[in-house]
């Protein structure tokens, strides 16, 4: 642990680490039971291969389901978008990538996605050029192409996301002092996360690349490799702009490491992942700034960005200038002209829209401003906490809180964006699992799955949804609820609501459905919004707890009580 700073005592790990290995064979949850034979040190080396193969088998089994837009001309879906990007990137000069026929799934992801598409397209063309023939292959659907595309997802996942969570769980459990058996359980939980599996392997997307790069960044931060971490994080941003949900928290964390306040200036230690110790500026007053690290971080971030976008500026072609190319990229990547939300998504705007019709009341610009303000307000607490106390153990919590803030209040949110807070939140299991944490994280993933149900149902992924959710709930024994009465009520209430909506959707025909065709989707949105909002609050609470704030409050109250008691005793004497 860090050398104790005078301001606050080292955190006691009395509640968060409890090893299930000691409890066996009394009553573990099934996931722990599966890993039980591998807990001895002789078999530890089998843990990772076994988990990765099992995870692969289930991931691949999901690919037998339909993908987004399968057999649905004229526009098809996300699968066609990704395939089309492979098609245009391998055939067209870079100058046209962000301009070519924008009505048919024009490229609207940042450059790293384009490079990734180029690579996949090149490899695919070696196998069969028809899959990616320019223009002729629009809406191409064939058995082998489907297998190839699914395989690119799996390979990308296993090259980036899965190594990332393995490395992350190693570093995070090292930070928090989690034992090996619990670490393998945590890895298994991360591998079993149903929402990421079903979106990448069922619906078809490459979220695991973006998330994997982000998780790699976090792992590097934990390992005190701040520059590598920021490089990874920028790459994550350059793969998919959604990684912006994490950005403020990451920024706050890094800034917090560079800026320290007088009273704990000397106490920088490994617990804080301190950067270099070269140039330090001491501003009159209690603030010290580690200028060297700050500048290096800035240079890393900017140069990574520059390297990513430079090819577009250099190879700008004859029609457009370099700046115009970059402007077009930004314009494509951030479509501000779109509405407050797409489809139905369980965030603040869509859920409260039932009562207050924002879009009728306010102009789009005003709405954008309001949503920006609310988002900033929501991400302020986690970011401020990370800035003031940039402890390693707090990192995933802060990132999760920040991502929740974005998901709940920002502009233009997709239902799939819930993956960001969900992955960040699930990462915390690497810091030791207890029943409460397990129930909350398990429940959160179930809520996320349920919130994506309208999308999954449309795409015909009902079987995969049911099996993965069921398996997840069973693996973590989610029938065991958290200890607090309120949480119990919340979890049970949600499950009852979700089941009722599922049953109603199947059984009720006519009547209310004819008048309000979206009634079940709206019900879904409202239910999930309540759950998500509460998860945001829960993350903040757990983060504060982890930071020692809750303990401090109790300590202050406890001390007051103690003093009162002492005085009373004195009087008695």
């Amino acid at each position: 642990m860090a050398p104790a700073s005078p301001a606050h005592k080292p955190r006691k790990r009395k509640r968060h680490v409890r090893s299930y290995s000691l409890m066996l064979p009394s009553k573990p949850f099934p996931l722990a039971s599966f890993l039980h034979p591998l807990r001895t040190s002789a078999k530890q080396r089998l843990v990772i291969p076994t988990l990765l193969i099992v995870a692969f088998i289930f991931r691949w089994a999901v690919t037998y389901g339909p993908y987004s837009g399968e057999h649905t001309p004229p526009m098809y879906g996300d699968f066609e978008a990704q395939r089309h990007w492979m098609e245009i990137t391998i055939h067209l000069p870079m100058a046209q990538w962000y301009w070519y026929d924008l009505t048919w799934w024009g490229l609207d992801y940042p450059p790293l996605t384009a490079y990734h598409s180029w690579l996949c397209g090149k490899i695919g063309s070696l196998i069969s050029p028809d899959w990616f023939a320019l223009d002729a292959s629009c809406g191409h659907e064939s058995y082998n192409n489907r297998v190839f595309m699914r395989a690119t997802v799996a390979v990308s996942d296993y090259l980036i996301y899965i190594p990332a969570i393995v490395i992350f769980s190693k570093w995070y459990s090292r930070t928090t002092g989690t034992d090996r058996y619990d670490r393998s359980i945590a890895l298994a939980i991360l591998l079993a996360m149903p929402c990421l599996i079903i979106i990448d392997y069922g619906h078809f997307q490459y979220n695991s690349v973006m998330l994997g790069l982000a998780v790699l960044a976090f792992a590097n931060f934990l390992a005190d490799r701040l520059l590598w971490g920021s490089l990874m994080f920028v790459m994550s941003l350059c793969f998919k702009q959604m990684a912006l949900y994490y950005a403020p928290a990451v920024f706050a964390y890094l800034l917090g490491l560079c800026v320290s306040f007088g009273r704990r200036a000397g106490g920088e230690g490994s617990g804080n992942g301190g950067g270099g110790s070269g140039l330090v500026i001491t501003i009159p007053g209690p603030i010290r700034i580690d200028l060297q690290t700050l500048v290096l971080l800035g240079v890393t971030v900017l140069s990574t960005f520059a390297v990513m976008v430079a090819p577009f500026a250099v190879l700008h072609g004859e029609e457009h200038g370099a700046l115009e190319q970059l402007a077009q990229m930004v314009h494509r990547v951030f479509p501000f002209a779109r509405g407050l939300w797409e489809d139905k998504v369980a965030n603040f705007w869509c859920a409260t829209n039932i009562v207050v019709k924002y879009r009728e009341m306010l102009a789009r610009e005003t709405l954008q401003k309001v949503s920006l303000a609310l988002t900033l307000l929501a991400i302020l607490p986690p970011c401020a906490l990370l800035f003031l106390r940039p402890k390693k153990a707090l990192l995933p919590w802060g990132v999760a809180g920040c991502a929740w803030g974005f998901f709940l209040f920002s502009f233009q949110v997709h239902e799939k964006s819930v993956l960001l807070p969900m992955v960040a939140m699930t990462l915390v299991v690497a810091g030791g699992v207890d029943r409460d944490l397990l129930s909350w994280i398990g429940w959160a993933n179930n809520v996320a799955m349920f919130s994506m149900w309208p999308l999954l149902r449309r795409e015909g992924l009902g079987l995969q949804y049911t099996v993965l959710t069921g398996l997840w709930s069973w693996l973590l024994s989610l029938h065991e609820l958290p200890s607090s009465i309120f949480a119990k009520a919340l979890h049970v209430g949600f499950y009852i609501g979700a089941l009722a909506l599922h049953v109603a959707e199947i059984t009720v025909k006519g009547g209310i459905v004819e008048r309000l065709p979206d009634v079940w989707v709206v019900g879904n949105v409202v239910l999930c919004f309540v759950a998500f909002a509460w998860l945001y609050v829960w993350v903040l609470y757990r983060m504060a707890d982890e930071a020692g704030l809750v303990e401090d409050v109790y300590a202050v109250m406890g001390k007051a009580k103690e003093e009162g008691e002492r005085e009373r005793l004195k009087k008695v004497e």
Binding site: L24, P25, P28, P30, S33, F34, H36, P37, K43, L46, P49, T50, I53, V54, F56, I57, F58, W60, A61, V62, T63, Y64, G65, Y143, N144, R146, V147, R150, A151, A154, L463, Q464, V467, G470, L471, W474
Partner: protein, 500 residues
């Protein structure tokens, strides 16, 4: 009893989740075969069951299986009546797929219960632990996953009945064991291959007393009566309407060739491989080549196989060979009957028929594989003989599921199974009581190291190098490789069986 982790139920839930996800995966023509049988048994009177031939996939399983299909069809009606129309060839609505896949998953309950019983009959905690691992290895076997849940068949249920019968034999519940086996024969006649072992053992242990002349008349009558009445129930009706000859032509189609399209990895595959090699070598040795049959073993579907250099094999030769091998092990079990030796005899009968039988399917590898699993953890020597079979047997099933999308699943699952269970077997298997057999364990290591590059070649590189040319080449390599492993396993186990 102290619970083992993971428990049987936990593995069952995990495996079932995977099987559910595999519902939309590739399915072979056997899916249509069974759909057609659902339709036949549901919509036609019993007297037409074995006559109907609208589809080329006529009913060719014994009557109990037909009744089982009729039973299933009662539920199929609720899913989609369309699948029950005989004329709806290749009908595969989503409801049909769900229903048929689920019927396999549910009927596997028989296997699950039989495995639980196999664990329950063990006397000591140590043997319970070993049996638990064997039960898990069978429950999670890639063989059942590939054949039943991807390719589509009902082997789980069939082998469930067999294991029930074997556990009864292990607990000396011989009458019930015999009855169950008779029932099994009326479900699927492939088990006739192992019937000799049952015959010899039941005759010796149940019908005869301490000496060969000490005939237990009461037992004879009980067993004989029971078996006759079971066959009576199954075939009586068809005998009454004079359809037995028709039934027999359906059940035993002798017009097929020595080897299946893809050679099952048995002695004949090695023979055919040698023949192919000789075609190249023969001109230099001055051997005559039968040019008419050059392409037959590489092209033909379910046609006749003829050899170019080596002499052709008549069906009679395969029977003589099979019976000769079986007789040796029957003599042993007859002279020194013991429950474990009986299971060994069943295994060897399965082995013999697989190795030397006429027109053997690769799926028949289950016949030796399943009973051998029950014996594999006797001691290290048995495990040594078992491992090549476990590897080769599973790999030999790969060509059944040949589509690209299933390659990752079948190989990852098999690798996982081999890795986890070989590791676990090693930790629980007792040390051998007597000397190891020199050859076997060396063979095993070399054999398994060769396997990995071979699979990579046959499944990936061949396609990359040759495209769709020379399609028979990877199949030939796979079957020859597997045949070698199974042969090694067979010889190893045969020696152990005869010397123990």
């Amino acid at each position: 009893m102290e619970a083992e982790h993971p428990t049987f139920t936990e593995c069952l839930v995990l495996a079932t989740a995977l099987k559910l996800l595999l519902i939309p995966a590739y399915r072979s023509t056997d899916f249509e075969v069974h759909r057609n049988w659902l339709a036949i048994t549901h919509s036609l009177p019993t007297s037409k069951w074995y006559i109907e031939d609208t589809s080329e996939w006529t009913l060719d399983y014994p009557p109990f299986f037909a009744v089982f299909e009729w039973f299933l069809s009662q539920f199929a009606r609720l899913f989609d009546p369309g699948m029950l129309v005989v004329k709806n060839l290749n009908y595969a609505s989503p409801q049909t797929i769900y229903f048929q896949r689920l019927s396999v998953i549910v009927s596997e309950l028989v296997l699950i219960l039989s495995l639980r019983r196999f664990v329950a009959i063990q006397a000591t905690p140590q043997s319970k632990k070993v049996a638990h691992i064997i039960a898990l290895s069978l429950l999670l076997s890639p063989a059942f996953l590939i054949i039943d849940h991807i390719h589509f068949q009902y082997n789980g249920m069939m082998f469930g009945i067999l294991i029930f019968s074997l556990t009864d034999a292990l607990t000396d519940n011989l009458l019930r064991s015999g009855v169950l086996f008779a029932v099994l024969l009326c479900f699927k006649h492939i088990y006739l291959y192992i019937a000799p072992a049952y015959f010899a053992y039941l005759l010796r242990r149940y019908c005869l007393g301490r000496t060969l002349l000490d005939i237990q008349l009461a037992n004879c009558i009980k067993l004989g009566g029971a078996i006759v009445s079971i066959f009576g129930i199954a075939f009586g009706y068809f005998a009454a309407i004079g359809q037995i000859p028709q039934l027999l032509t359906r059940l035993f189609p002798f017009s097929r060739g020595l080897c299946h399209a893809y050679w099952a990895p048995n002695a004949w595959a090695l023979y055919a491989f040698a023949d192919r090699v000789l075609i190249i070598v023969a001109p230099r040795l001055g051997l005559p080549i039968d040019s008419a049959s050059l392409g037959s073993a590489t092209r033909g579907l379910v046609g006749d196989t003829s050899f170019a250099v080596l002499p052709n094999i008549p069906p009679r030769a395969t029977f003589v060979l099979t019976l000769a091998v079986q007789l040796v092990c029957l003599a042993k079990v007859f002279l020194q009957p013991s429950p474990m030796r009986f299971v060994g005899a069943v295994t060897l009968c399965g082995f013999a028929s697989f190795m030397f039988g006429w027109h053997v399917h690769e799926k028949a590898i289950l016949l030796p594989l399943v009973p051998f699993s029950l014996l594999a953890l006797q001691d290290r020597r048995y495990l040594g003989a078992f491992r090549p079979l476990a590897v080769a047997g599973h790999i030999s099933l790969f060509p059944l599921v040949f589509k690209a999308a299933e390659f990752p699943i079948k190989s990852a699952y098999t690798i996982l199974w081999v890795m986890v269970f070989f590791m676990t077997f090693d930790t629980v298997v007792p040390v051998a009581k007597s000397q190891r057999i020199f050859f076997l364990d060396r063979f095993e290591i070399v054999y398994m190291t060769v396997g990995v590059p071979l699979i990579l070649y046959t499944e990936l590189f061949h396609f990359a190098i040759f495209g769709s040319k020379l399609e028979f080449l990877p199949l030939m390599f796979t079957s020859s490789y597997c045949a070698l492993g199974i042969l090694g396993s067979f010889l190893g186990f045969f020696t152990l069986y005869l010397t123990s």
